[in-house]
């Protein structure tokens, strides 16, 4: 109960202050809408928001899954050879610095309007944290265990599969957590350009000076990002139960 109350307290306090400022005309609602206006908009246009929410969630999830598959595969390949790492890792870093908002219009030319561009945008933005964290995880296997595998003449593939990959799982999930938030941002940017989802709701509301709708859609997209982070966290805890148990056991006096 306390874990939920702690983050809710500042939200409620902030909302109360904002409501007071708008209602007492200190801040005009066409500059900053009152929380009650946002809530009313969420109820009045609920079907539009729901459709937008599910469209964005679908695109962000597909983008995230694709970046997970591509990112971990790339990291596995790069970890097999120092030469490959030196040759391709700089490009992975370069990928991270691509400003998605600048290349999104080009994505439309390649993939057309609608979900394909949105998914591509989500994929590009969320790929790098998965590559970087997976690489880090794969290189984090304990040296003494690596020596043990070497003594037993384990093959490169066996070492990777039985030692490096399990050791990398916490880092891979950490990358996924970062990527899940970014996947939503990528999807929203893609929707600005290619249409659909919460991005389109924000874009249309902006042109009609409906700041209550803009904030409502932004709130929902933040909620989606948070939901994905919690989902990844849940999966990681289930999969790494034994790892966490070992870790907590180690911490016990």
């Amino acid at each position: 109960m306390m874990t939920l109350a702690a983050p809710l307290a500042p939200l409620l306090f902030g909302s109360f202050i904002l409501e007071f400022l708008v209602r007492s005309k200190f801040v005009p609602s066409y500059i900053l809408p009152a929380p009650s206006e946002i809530a009313i908009s969420l109820y009045t246009d609920r079907f539009e928001y729901l459709m937008g929410f599910f469209a964005t969630a679908k695109a962000a999830l597909i983008g995230l899954v694709l970046s997970f598959v591509a990112g971990t595969s790339a990291a596995l390949l790069l970890s097999l050879s120092p030469w490959l790492r030196k040759a391709f890792l700089p490009y992975a870093t370069f990928f991270q610095t691509v400003p998605i908002i600048a290349i999104a219009p080009v994505l439309v030319i390649w993939f057309g309007f609608g979900p394909p561009t949105v998914i591509a945008s989500s994929f590009i933005v969320s790929l790098f944290p998965i590559i970087a964290n997976s690489m880090l995880g794969l290189q984090s296997a304990e040296p003494r265990l690596l020596d043990l595998f070497r003594i037993h003449r384990a093959s490169r593939l066996a070492t990777l599969w039985k030692l490096q990959l399990p050791a990398a799982l916490p880092a891979i999930f950490s990358g996924l957590r970062i990527a899940s938030g970014l996947a939503v941002i990528g999807a929203i940017v893609g929707e600005f350009i290619a249409g659909g989802g919460l991005g389109e709701v924000v874009d249309a509301a902006r042109t009609q000076q409906r700041l209550d709708k803009v904030f409502a859609a932004v709130f929902l997209s933040s909620f989606l990002g948070l939901f994905l982070v919690v989902l990844i966290d849940f999966i990681s805890r289930r999969m790494l139960r034994s790892w966490y148990a070992d870790e907590s056991a180690e911490q016990r006096p």
Partner: protein
């Protein structure tokens, strides 16, 4: 001696007279001519600096504002204009409403929507009497009307939520086959696909498309019955009440600038082209020629340039209410002032 002295005095007087007539007179005449060339200062008060926020980059649609600045017609009217270019989606009307700028450019529908949301923005000067917003289509598709564009397969790129887009979608909803897709700015998608039509300013993108070799046909949205004033100079009512003289000077400067630009756009186009070299100077010339009838409108010579009527603001408010973009209509008489 006295006689001699008198004679000298008389000769000196004649000398002065002759010198005056033949020598000094031309000098005086020249001086008087040169004085008449210097324009009289109509305003003795110090110049007030005014920032005008645009909603796009320097283009002929803003030519009159730049003309006022470049030819110093602003200073002759007691103000010093600083023109601040905008970008895609710059929310000028909200920035003016919030007090970040005292003067800005917006479209008529933005003014009505902003007022309906509670701001106190007010229109001062409407550049376009006929809305230049239109649809740009490929000539190969042989569309004859806006209805044809909507009732044929293909895509139409329009900024979702904009009143004119809502209006067209409602008007041509029955039998509509085209898909509405987001407008990305520019014409690259239009050039890439023959089944693609897009929103445009009929005074702008068609010339850029022609330059790229595309065969085009445009349709004015105004012909469908939605014709808000466009490129409207706005301020806040509070500015109007507190500094009416300043607001009047701005309108006079802007009007003088536009009158100059409509008659002699070449020099101004060159200067704007330096500020926005992405558009060729030749295209600047074509744009300024094409927009002239839309600015002068049918009311030319009857009312001052930039004038507005309560009837048109009222019609626009009704249309926006019918489209459910606004709930309550603002009083149309308070949406603008004639200065």
């Amino acid at each position: 001696m006295i006689r001699y002295a008198r004679l000298l005095s008389l000769r000196f007087s004649f000398f002065i007279l002759f010198a005056g007539l033949f020598g000094l007179a031309p000098t005086i005449s020249l001086a008087s001519k040169s004085v008449s060339k210097v324009p009289a200062k109509p305003v003795s008060k110090p110049l007030e600096k005014v920032r005008l926020a645009l909603n796009w980059k320097p283009e002929p649609q803003f030519g009159g504002f730049y003309a006022a600045q470049i030819t110093q017609l602003d200073k002759k009217n007691g103000v010093e204009l600083e023109i601040v270019p905008g970008g895609a989606g710059t929310p000028v009307v909200q920035m003016v409403a919030a007090g970040q700028f005292d003067f800005g450019i917006a479209s008529g529908d933005e003014v009505v929507v902003s007022r309906a949301r509670g701001s106190d923005v007010v229109a001062l000067f409407a550049v376009f009497q006929t809305n230049p917003q239109g649809l740009l289509t490929h000539a190969e598709r042989s569309f004859e009307s806006l209805a044809d564009v909507f009732k044929s397969n293909g895509t139409i790129a329009m900024q979702k939520g904009l009143p004119y887009a809502v209006f067209l979608q409602r008007k041509y909803a029955s039998g509509m086959k085209a898909s509405i897709v987001p407008y990305l700015g520019g014409i690259s998608n239009f050039l890439a696909r023959k089944d693609h039509s897009q929103q445009c300013f009929v005074t702008s993108e068609p010339f850029l498309a022609n330059r790229q070799g595309a065969k085009i046909r445009t349709f004015l949205v105004a012909e469908s019955g939605f014709n808000p004033y466009t490129t409207v100079v706005i301020t806040r009512r509070s500015v109007l009440l507190e500094r009416p003289e300043l607001v009047k000077n701005v309108v006079m400067a802007v009007r003088a600038g536009w009158l100059h630009y409509l008659n002699r756009p070449t020099e101004i186009n060159q200067k704007m082209n330096e500020l926005n070299p992405s558009i060729a100077l030749e295209t600047f010339e074509q744009m300024s020629t094409a927009q002239k009838p839309l600015i002068e409108g049918k009311t030319i010579s009857k009312t001052p340039l930039g004038s507005m009527t309560s009837a048109r603001w009222s019609e626009l408010s009704v249309q926006l209410q019918e489209m459910k973009i606004i709930e309550n209509k603002p009083d149309s008489a308070t949406l603008f002032v004639e200065l």
